[in-house]
Structure formats: C-alpha cells, structure tokens
Amino acid sequence: MIIPMITSAEALPVVWFVLIAVLWTGYLVLDGFDFGVGMLLRPVGRDDQGRRIVLHAIGPVWDGNEVWLIVAGGATFAAFPEWYASLFSGAYLALLVILVALIVRVCALEYRGKHDDPGWIRRWDWAITISSLVPPLVWGVALADFVHGLPMDSAHNVIGGLPVLFSPYSVLGGVALVLLCLTHGAAFLALRTSDEVRERARRIGLAIGLPAAAALGGFVFWTALHGGHARVVALVIAAVATLGVLGGWVATRTHHDGWAFVGTAIGVAGFVACVFSSIFPAVLPSTLDPAGTLTISNAAATPHTLTIMTVVAAIMTPIILLYQGWTYWVFRRRLSTRQLAASAHEPGPARS
C-alpha cells in the first residue's frame, strides 16, 4: 500500500477547511446561547428585574462571541476567496436579513437599559427577541444549503436569487438550529442564574429539549446521508449530536446544570461538524453545472497566503481561547437580584 505524500499545498486547504468549521462551531456554540437567551428574554425574564438578570448573564460576553462570525467571514475570504464570493453574493437577500437582525440586536442589547421609559424598554425587548430569532433561522438554512448546494454556473456564480435557498431540507436546518439555540440558551440561563429565573429557564429547557433533539436528529441524519467521502464520520457525529441534546435534557431533569449545558453545546457543535464533514472535500456544491462546484482545491487561496495565515492563526488562536475563557471565569458567579443596581436606566449621579 502506498501512502500518498501529502504536500503542504494539499494539506493547507484541508487545515483551513477544518479551521473554518471550527470558527463556525465557535460562533454558533457561543453566540448560539446568546440567541437563545435573547429569544427567551421575555418568557424567562418575565418582569423587568428578571429580564435584567437574563441580559446580565450574556452581558460581558455576547460581543466577543459575535467576533467568531466576523473571523469566520474573514477567514473564508482569505483562505477560500471563491467560496466567500459565491456564498455571499449568492445568498444576497438572506444575508441582508441577517445583517439587519445583527445590527438591531447590538443596538437593542446596548440601548435597552439606557433610558427609563417603559415604552422604550418594551420596544427594545421585542427587538432583542426578534433579532435573536432571525440569525439562527437563516444561518440554519444557509448551512443546510452548504450541503444541498446552490445552482452555480461554471464561473461559480449562484443563479436564481432568494428562492433557491429554500427547500424542505434547508427549512428543517433553520428550524432545528432555532430550537437548538433555544435549548442551549435555556441551559445557559439555568447555569448562570438563580431563584425564579433559573427555575423558569429549566422548565422551558425541559419543554423544548425533546423537540429540539428530534429536529436536530432529523436534520443531522438527513445531512449525513448526503455525505460523500466522510459519510461514516458524519453519521457518528450525527449520533453524538443527537445524544448530546438528549443527555442535556436528562441532565436538566436531574438538576445537573453544567452537564445540561455541555449536552446542548455538543448538539450545536455536532450540527456544524455534521454539515462540514458531509460536504468535504467540496465547500459549495453546484446543483446546476457540475463544473461550478467549489472544492477545497479550486476555491483555495495560494499556498503562500495559506502558510502565512496558518502561522498567524497558530499564534493567535490559543491566546484568544485563553482570554475569552478567562472572561467566563471572571463572571462565573450565579446572577441574582443582589447584583442588580437600584436602577439601570437613569443616567447620572445615581449610578455608582
């Protein structure tokens, strides 16, 4: 048996394919619970005190979590320019919807508590809820489209606009990711808060856990069936992801908040890993002209660029993981009403 020599020119695109999968995983595992928390703001928070606790739970971290998306986008641009160009122009209006949601969400999270007016707060609460629902829905559809492919001509341009993004399979991807983020967010809140807020988060987590596991299971096994070279890997990941969410549900029942969160995190990570392992070595299959299919070789940047990027990523990634992890350590205490200031709204001397 001849072991093929793997040159760096062949290995580097694989490294970057894996790295981009890791960045998407980081983004959806971390910002995924932010989305869930945002969607659950009203039912779990219930009154103003409760909602402030809910928002405090993600307050120090959500902005850093969102950077994973920006880096995933930048890394795709740098490592696979063709993939970036085809995907972003091909999913034009869907990305517009995501951008609007992300813009509104940043402003809603930051501005909600800065004015003591019930109407102001109510409007931003709804803005947080909706702008937290839209991104996982559309990203779920988009990730499913990675697997299913898009109608691309031989120059890799997606033809057909918005309708081509939607199929029963991609809609299931969107729904599954929303349910998953809800469960993940509920697990995060149960882990980070106390008293009534924690209790409500647990109850909602228990109610959504099983539908989420079902939707995820349906999606990942359907995905694994698409699988090319790595179908076995995709099937294993699909099983682990589904079991993760089910295990999380059991842990929630038995009051193991930490394990419940680990379980839902495995579910989200499995969602992404299953998608990426199914498409490898393609990055975006064409449903129109087979010559339009983008793979890790015809979409990749030059080995020179990939080498530089690899060095930078190898240095920066451990440092980033270290300080982001430290943030979670600093704010590890469970939140309760004791940590809320008398009024978060009025600017001025009252704030200490």
């Binding site: 740098a78 320019p81 999270l109 341009n157 600017p347 001025g348 001397p349 704030r351």
Partner: protein
C-alpha cells in the same frame, strides 16, 4: 441606474456612516484609558479614593464611548459582508491578498477589543484595579490594531505591492506579505488616520466639557474656566476644566500630527497615484512650479475659471517637497495611461476630488484653531490683576465670560463635528480619487461588482440600510445628548465585592 452605480452608492453610504463612529471609538477608548490611568496613579500611597475627578471623567466619557461603540460594531459587520455580497468579482480577484489582513484584523484586533471591553464594562467590582485598567487599554490597543490591518488592506488597493496577477486564474496572488504590510501608502496612512481619530476624540471631550461649563455659567455667572494665580477653580468646574485642557491639547497635537503625516502622504500619493494629486488641484496641464488654489469660482474643467486665489509654488512643494518641481497634469497622465492600459478615461471626478481635498484640510484646520482657543480660554493667569488689560480685541471674543451665549453652544456642537467631517472628506477624496480603478492599475471598479446580484437587489439593500441607519442616527443622537446632559456620575471608587451590583452595565 445600473448595479455598479448602486453598489458604489451603497458602499459610500454605509462606509461614511460607519466611519462617523470609528474615529470616536479609536480616539475615545485611548482617552478614557488615560483618564482611568490618571485616577489610578492618584490612588498611590494609601489614598484609596484618589483624585476622584479623573474617575468621574472616566465613567462619564466611558458611557458616551459605549453608546458610540455599539453602533460602530453594528455597522462594521456590514463592511466585511458587503465585499462578498456586492463585489464578488473583486473578492475573487483580490481574496488572496486582501482577505489576509481582514482575517488577521478579526483574530488580532476585534477579539481583543470586544472581549476586553466586556470585561471593562462589567468588571468594575470584579477585577483588581490595575487589571481592570489593563482591560480598557487592551480594548484601545485592539482598536488601533484594527486600523492598522484594514488600512494595510485599503492601501493595497491604492498601490498594489507584493502581488502578481495570475491571468490563468484571473486573480492577483500574494508574493510578499511584508511588502503589503510595509506598503509606503500604509506606513503613512496609519499615522495620518490615527492622529485624525485623536483629533475627533480630543475635540469631543473638550466640546462636551465646554458645553457643561456653559451650563454652569448660566446658573452662576461667576463661574470661570480661568485659573487665577494659585486659587483653584470652583469645585464644580474643576473636572470639566481638566477635560477641556486634555481634549484641547490632544486636538492640537493630533492636528499637528495629521498635518505632518498628511504632507508626507501627499508626496507618496504623487509618487504612486499622480492622477489623484492632479485631480486634487484640478491641474489639467503640467506646471513647474505649480501653485495651489485655496478656492476657485467657476468650473474646474480648465475652461471657465472665474476667480481663484492661488498660492504660488505650494502645490509643487506639497507634491514633491521642492518649490519649483514639475507637477503632472490630468491631460498628460491621461495620455500616458492610455499608452499603458489602452483606451479609456483614467481621471476621477475632478470637482469632487478638488473640493473634498480642500474641505478636509479646511475643516481640520478650523478645528485645530478651536482647540487652541479652548486651551487659551482655560489657561492659568499668573497675575489676575492684569486680566482686565488682557481681554481686548480678539481676546475679548475668547474671554471665558462669553461662554454663556447661544453661539457658544453652537461652537461646542461644531467643534467635534469639524474633525469628524474632515475624516469623511478625506476618505471620500482618497476613494473617489482612485477611480476608475478599484485596485489601481489592476482592476477597474466596473469589473469588480457581483454579476449575479441585480440592480433591484442592490436598490433593496441600499434602501434598507439607509432607512435603518437613519433611524439609528436619531436614536443614538438622542441617547448621546441625554447622557451628555446628565453630567458627571458619582465618585464611589470601585472595590471588589463578589455580590456588588454590576452597575456599569444594563
């Protein structure tokens, strides 16, 4: 309108809007960090409280900074996405070079900025004081790093170094990353831009404080910014006077930095993009020595000049450093470019280049004058008995006693807006001045657009962004004014208490 024109308009609208917030983020994060550092230094030697004036300024401007930062982040995501969305042919062509600084910007800068800012906001009563101070400095450093990498990317579009075109693949390919990072355009644009950011932040701090002092003066006409001899100013005025002094000094020093770096930048530009320099003067034919016009009435097409004030030799000096050097004209360069690149028009929109160049310099210079005035109005008078003699003529206009009138309020509104629009004019100049090129000499703007995105799609997204940004501008301005008028927050120094309220945040 076709999709190229619409895509350009969308890029212009979203980028100019985004860049209203970027200079404030970069400059103000540094100034807030400086205030906090000043406070922490004052707590040395067993004074747990320290000089709370600086702590209060830290928290006050910190709040204003965060309101600004949120919208800067929100509008920044659009910037990264729209290269792929609207300019996919460009992305395919430049990805091998342009993508790397963008990705590194995310890895090295945005993570640092966002993560440590979260720690700073929520960490007041959680982190030891020096560690908490380090978080705002790291966030400020992150914002500077992001400027460096994105300017390296932009500079490559102005002057594509370290790359070769692979015709078979239809793309530019990286051969020398060091050359990309040490691009002469980047080396001079980075300081020019960073100084310009600090001009905005300095002007903002001075103007907000100046407005607060006017408010105090309306209540009590005896309030003065002048420090008379060894008598300290009134307790209520003291923090604001400090802020005015810091803000004005930063504005003036950064203004000098902008002027010096801008001068070098002009010479680099003449070297690598002579057409942009010719367009900046609307110079149609080569001149030696070339004069610089302060303004021109009439048309700028070289045909119907009605009136113009010209400073002889100045353009030669700005462009080359020599007073009698030859400066190439638009027509000469056009002829040369046709020889090199084939038939076509190689000049940008001349009136736009001419006027944005002057408005950039003019608004910047007026703001520096404002900074000097603010510095002088808050000066210390060693011999107060001579003050009466000092307030004559121009001095009377700048006397602290006048800071009650309506014109003063408008001056304080204008002070930070002047360097801010100078930033906008500078970017509009340098980006439109590069036209018709997207990547100078390599890729035309018309060839960079996404072929599969229709004009209707772009019209939809442009309308959505314009509407959303308009609403956000109203919300953000109101919130900003609300927090500006609220005045200084309390002075309780932070102590680590596990269950202390996470008060700075939501």
């Amino acid at each position: 309108m076709d999709s190229v024109v619409l895509a350009r308009w969308q890029f212009a609208i979203t980028t100019v809007y985004h860049f209203f917030f970027v200079p404030v983020t970069i400059g103000l994060s540094g100034l807030v960090a400086a205030f906090q550092t000043r406070w922490l230094i004052s707590t040395r030697g067993g004074h747990r409280e320290g000089d709370v004036r600086w702590l209060r300024l830290t928290r006050y401007f910190g709040k204003l900074f965060l309101i600004n930062f949120a919208i800067g982040v929100a509008t920044g995501i659009v910037q990264e996405f729209q290269f792929g969305m609207n300019w996919s042919s460009y992305s395919r062509f430049v990805g091998d070079i342009f993508g790397a600084p963008l990705a590194i910007e995310g890895l090295a800068a945005f993570f640092l900025e966002s993560t440590f800012l979260g720690l700073w906001i929520f960490g007041w009563n959680r982190l030891p004081r020096p560690v908490h101070l380090a978080t705002i400095w790291l966030a400020a450093i992150g914002s500077v790093l992001s400027a460096i990498f994105i300017l390296a990317a932009n500079s490559w579009m102005q002057h594509p170094v370290g790359a070769v075109v692979n015709a078979a693949r239809g793309r530019a390919e990286l051969v020398d990353f060091t050359a990309v990072l040490t691009n002469p355009v980047a080396l001079v644009t980075v300081p020019h831009q960073l100084f310009a950011c600090y001009m905005v932040a300095g002007a903002f701090v001075a103007a907000v404080a100046g407005w607060q002092v006017a408010k105090l003066r309306r209540a009590d006409p005896e309030v003065s910014l002048l420090r008379r001899g060894d008598v300290p100013v009134a307790e209520a005025v003291r923090p604001w006077r400090s802020a005015i002094r810091v803000g004005a000094a930063v504005l003036v020093i950064a203004g000098l930095g902008v002027a010096v770096s801008g001068d070098v930048q002009g010479k680099v530009m003449t070297d690598v993009q002579p057409m942009k320099m010719a367009a900046a003067e609307a110079l149609w034919h080569a001149e030696a020595p070339a004069s610089f016009s302060i303004f021109t009435i009439g048309t700028l097409d070289g045909q119907h000049e009605v009136f113009s004030i010209k400073i002889p030799y100045l353009l030669s000096f700005l462009a080359t450093g020599h007073f009698d050097a030859n400066v190439q004209g638009i027509d000469d360069l056009q002829a040369a470019y046709v020889q090199t690149y084939g038939p076509g028009t190689y000049s940008p929109n001349i009136p736009l280049a001419y006027w944005t160049f002057r408005l950039m310099i003019g608004t910047g210079m007026v703001s520096v004058a404002g900074g000097l005035a603010a510095w002088w109005m808050s000066r210390r008078i060693r011999h107060p008995e001579r003050l009466r003699h000092a307030t004559r003529g121009l001095a009377r206009l700048l006397a602290p006693e006048v800071s009650r009138g309506r014109w003063w309020t408008w001056a304080m509104v204008a002070l930070p807006l002047l360097p801010l629009v100078a930033n906008s004019f500078g970017w509009i100049f340098t980006e439109t001045g590069r036209q018709p090129w997207l990547v100078f000499g390599m890729l035309r703007t018309a060839d960079g657009v996404s072929p599969n995105v229709s004009a209707l799609d772009v019209a939809i997204s442009m309308s959505v962004f314009t509407l959303l940004y308009g609403i956000l501008a109203v919300v953000e301005t109101r919130l900003m004014l609300r927090y500006i008028s609220a005045g200084l927050p309390s002075a309780d120094p932070p102590e680590i208490v596990p269950d202390a309220p996470l008060t700075f945040a939501y």
